[in-house]
């Protein structure tokens, strides 16, 4: 498997505060990597830098083998993202929003792609309603459709199931798993939802105060911290308790 994301010595300072403090990691094709950490741990800052929305203070980000700083717009065509902190225009319908983004990504088969996503994400009945009139769960599915419009090879998701009821959240996770199996896309997600991370991620990067303080598969972390679930591991790390079984 090739490295889709390769991050080296990545640092982001806001004045004297180190939001991200020298992190390294890779994400391979077909792999899901989760950033796990408390508020202010540096997860969203990391994702913003991977999207080029935020310039690193120092360090390297290579996506698909290319330097993000030099090839940003070319690379952005191969990736996409979704976040509950970013919305689609409320006065437009899902169909109109998706058409705008399909054109921004230069899709030749925009109409077909939009119809396919509407069917797969169960949006058909909502396509001609204003986004502002949709429920939180419906908006999340529209945002996911936008994130998948260009068939991204790298999908960055910030809190992908925040504000969803358990049933819809489970449905979204299942959909993401299926998308990855079908396309071999790499997925990177930042989440507070431990169940989601345990289910989706092959590798977990535990972040605290801008650093990656531990990493491994969910099973590996559970073993090393002698815990039953990732929430307990999360609390150990948040409270600066060390792993009992060194890797």
């Amino acid at each position: 498997m090739t490295d889709i994301v390769a991050v080296e010595a990545l640092i982001k300072h806001f004045d004297a505060v180190a939001a991200v403090d020298g992190i390294d990691f890779t994400v391979k094709s077909g792999e899901t990597v989760a950033l796990l950490g408390g508020n202010g741990a540096g997860k969203t800052t990391t994702i913003s830098m991977l999207l080029g929305l935020l310039k690193p203070t120092s360090g390297n980000i290579r996506l698909f083998g290319l330097d993000l700083a030099k090839h940003r717009h070319r690379l952005l065509a191969r990736m996409n993202f979704s976040s509950p902190y970013v919305e689609l225009p409320h006065r437009l319908t899902p169909r109109q929003n998706l058409m705008v983004f399909a054109r921004l990504y230069g899709l030749k088969d925009a109409q077909t792609r939009i119809e396919t996503l509407a069917k797969e994400l169960d949006l058909e009945a909502l396509m001609d309603r204003k986004v502002g009139s949709l429920s939180a769960g419906q908006k999340t599915r529209v945002a996911l459709a936008k994130a998948l419009i260009n068939r991204p090879e790298l999908l960055l998701l910030d809190e992908p199931t925040a504000s969803l009821d358990p049933d819809t959240a489970d449905w979204v996770r299942h959909y993401l798993e299926r998308y990855q199996q079908q396309t071999g896309a790499a997925i990177m997600l930042a989440s507070h939802n431990m169940g989601e991370v345990e289910r989706l991620a092959k590798q977990v990067l535990m972040m605290r105060k801008g650093k990656i303080v531990d990493r491994g598969s969910p099973d590996d972390l559970l073993f090393r911290y002698s815990r039953q679930n990732l929430e307990e591991v999360f609390l150990d790390i948040a409270r600066d308790r060390r792993a009992e079984n060194a890797a």
Partner: protein, 271 residues
């Protein structure tokens, strides 16, 4: 590939952004009415005022409609600036800016789409007023002939330059700078010599007026209406200054975009 790269410029992406604003306009008839409302009101008020002055002023009697033409052209500048700024603000109000800038859309393409929308919004706002003036006052601004296109072009360019600076400030300082979009153009009204010749101004303000593309447009408009002559020298000054200011304001916009990426503002700006 960087923000300045012309090889990466995509008309398709510019069209996509225009489509986004077209959807908003299409879905909201009150907005369309609002766009045409103020220019029409201005035209009606200044039309009656012109009629009154026409009967009492030898200066105005020699070219009825000079005030009406000035009002309409001033609205081109105002609507151009406002159209550019409001199209950008739409993205902030809907918290959509991060979605756009994590797509392949470049800042220059975004600016090109905002320019196009400024032109369209100015036309939607001003054209109905110009047409209504014909039955109301028997005055057609289209009687200016081809020079009208030159005046329109120069004022739209100036409006977009100002719009770029306003949006750069909003990107840098957030929605706290939003009100700039509504009043900044009026700072230039007194020295743009919209309703009176530049020679009326005190000497030091004449120097300021000489730095504004708009003052040459309005002087040029009066030359056409009073003397029936198109002053190429005035057009040249206006165009030259516009090219200079477009370059400078694009530089300010791109600098502001770069600073926003350093400070993480693209994700934060919103309501």
């Amino acid at each position: 590939m960087n923000a300045f790269s012309l090889t990466s410029f995509s008309l398709g992406r510019v069209g996509a952004m225009c489509l986004r604003h077209f959807y908003v306009l299409k879905g909201s008839w009150p907005r369309l009415i609002e766009m045409a409302y103020w220019p029409t009101m201005q035209m009606i008020i200044w039309g009656f005022f012109s009629t009154f002055l026409y009967r009492n002023s030898t200066w105005l009697a020699s070219a009825f409609g000079v005030l009406l033409a000035a009002v309409m052209l001033w609205d081109v500048l105002f609507r151009g600036q406002l159209g550019f700024s409001l199209s950008f603000l739409e993205e902030l109000w809907s918290r959509n800016l991060a979605n756009l800038y994590c797509s392949p859309l470049t800042p220059v393409e975004h600016v090109a789409s905002l320019l196009t929308m400024a032109l369209i919004r100015a036309l939607i706002g001003v054209v109905p007023a110009t047409l209504l003036a014909i039955p109301f006052y028997h005055f057609s601004i289209y009687s200016l002939g081809p020079p009208l296109a030159a005046f329109f072009f120069c004022l739209i360019l100036m409006g977009c330059s100002m719009g770029m600076v306003v949006t750069a400030m909003i990107m840098r300082f957030g929605l706290a700078a939003e009100n700039l979009a509504w009043f900044i153009v009026f700072l230039l009204a007194p020295v743009s010599a919209v309703y009176y010749p530049v020679s009326i101004l005190p000497h030091w303000l004449q120097i300021v007026a000489g730095l504004l593309p708009s003052s040459y447009v309005f002087e040029g408009m009066r030359a056409v209406m009073f003397d029936r002559v198109f002053r190429w020298d005035l057009f040249g000054w206006s165009l030259g200054l516009n090219v200079l200011y477009m370059g400078l304001s694009l530089g300010v916009y791109l600098w502001s975009f770069s600073r926003a990426r350093q400070l993480g503002l693209l994700l934060q700006v919103g309501e």
